[in-house]
Symmetry: D2
Subunit: 141 residues, 4 copies
C-alpha cells in the first residue's frame, strides 16, 4: 500500500453487507470510486463537480480476494498506473489489517463535456501526476 | 451530541451525492442504521446476524436540517429515548463540525424470528441500556 | 392504491436485501423517492435536474409493515396529502400483491436555490396538483 | 441480446444518478448482479440464500459504453460464456432502446461454504446450463 499516494480509511457499514452476510460486490466499486475521486482532487482534475473538461469512466475491474464482513475498517488506495494521450489507467487496492481484500482498476478518459470529444491530458495535470509519485507516462492510447 | 452514548465518525463518499449535488436522503438512513447497530452491539441485542430473538425495524423518521456535500465527515449518534415492553425508541443525530445536519428516530420491536411474536425486552438488556446512560424505561408499549 | 395518481412498479433486486435477508430499510426510502420524483414530473416541479426554483426534502417517515424479500415486485405510490404556502406533504404507499408493505410521508419545501429562500407554490403548480386528483390545498405552513 | 437466456427489464431510478447527473458506475454492477442471480436461479445454483454449496464472486469487469440518465429503462442480460471445473465466466450486457450501454463479465467460483474448498460444478448444473443455451463447457480452470 506504500506505493499508493492516495489512501482512504473507510469504515464498513453493517448495511454494506448483502444477504450472504458479506460486503456486497458493488460496495468495493464505491470504495474504489472514493479513492479515485481523492486522487483526482490531488491532480486538480475537476472530478467532483461538472466542469467543462473532466473525467469519464470507461471501464472498471475488481478482483475479490477475501470476503469482508462488518465490523471492519478498510484502507483503499488509488495510484496512476499509466497515462496516455487522453486517458489514465488507475490501480486500486483495498486492504484490511494490512492484508489485501480486493484489487481493481479503472480506465478514465478526459473529455470535453460540451463537445463530447476526448481531450489531451494537459501538461499541468501530467506534472501534478508526476509529483504524486507512483506513475509513469507512457505512449499514446 | 454528548448525551449520545454511541457516536460514529463517518466519511461522506462522493458517491453519496445524488444529481442535485447533495448527499441523498437515503444515505442519512444508512448513517442512522450504522449508529443503531453500534448501539445494539453495546446492549448485546444480536443485531448484526440473524439469531432466535432480535430487533425488527417498525418505523423511521428523518428531519433533514442542512444539505451535506462531499467532502465532509459526519458524526452520527444513537441513544435510547424510551424502552417499552417489547420495543425501543431510538433517537439519532448527525452533525458536521458540531452543527446538526439531521435528526431522526427509529422504533424497533424485539421479536422471536421463529414465531414472529413480540418478545419482552429481557432484564439483562434493560440493565445494559441503563448502564449506557441516556435512556429511561417507561410504561408499556 | 387507487387514490394514488402516481404508481410505479419496481422489481426488488436481490442486492436490496441486507444481512438479515430482508429488503433493507433504506431501500424503501429509495422507492418513495422514485414515486415522489414521478409525482413532481407530473406537476412540472423541475425536480430531476437543478433549476432556479425547486423542491428540497425537509423530512421523511416510513412505517415498515411487512418484511419484503427477493424475489418480489412492489408497487409504490405517491399522492399529495396537503399543499401549504411553500411546502407539500406527500404520502407514500408500497404494496406487494396488493397488500401494503410500507407507508411513508415526505415534507417537501419549495426553495429558490440561489437565495435559499422559501418560495410560494406557484398557481400553475397548484392547478397541476388539482388536476392530479387526490390532494386538497389547505392553510399556510 | 437474443443470445442471452436471462434478460431483466430494470427501471432506472432517479436516485441511481450521481452528482454528474449520470447513472453511477456502481449501479451497473448491481444490474449485472441481478441478471446473474436470475441466471443462477435458472440452473438451481442456490444463489439467493446461503446453502452448503454455492457461488462466490471472484471478479467483475464493466465497460461503460454510453452514459445513462433518468428516466430510462434498461434491459440487462446474463449468459454463460465458459464453464470450468469449479468456476463459470458469465457475460453481461445492458441495453437501452436496443443499443448497448454497458458490457461486463463475472468470474464465479463454486465453493463449499463450510470448508471454503472449491467444488466441481455438478453434472446436473452442467446439464441445466446446457439447456439454457448459449454456453459451452470448456477445459479445466
Amino acid at each position: 500500500m506504500e506505493s499508493y499516494p492516495v489512501q482512504l480509511e473507510i469504515p464498513v457499514a453493517w448495511g454494506d453487507m448483502d444477504a450472504f452476510g458479506h460486503v456486497n460486490n458493488t460496495v468495493y466499486l464505491r470504495w474504489f470510486e472514493s479513492a479515485r475521486i481523492a486522487l483526482f482532487e490531488r491532480i486538480d482534475i475537476g472530478a467532483t463537480r461538472p466542469e467543462k473538461v473532466g473525467p469519464i469512466l470507461a471501464s472498471t475491474t475488481c478482483d475479490y480476494l477475501t470476503p469482508v464482513e462488518y465490523p471492519a475498517t478498510v484502507v483503499v488506495g488509488a495510484r496512476m498506473q499509466r497515462i496516455g494521450n487522453t486517458s489514465f489507467i488507475i490501480e486500486h487496492l483495498a486492504t484490511k489489517h494490512g492484508a489485501p481484500v480486493a484489487r481493481g482498476s479503472a480506465v478514465v478518459v478526459l473529455i470535453d463535456y460540451e463537445t463530447g470529444e476526448k481531450v489531451r491530458v494537459p501538461d499541468e495535470m501530467r506534472s501534478a501526476i508526476d509529483s504524486l509519485g507512483g506513475a509513469q507516462a507512457t505512449g499514446p492510447r
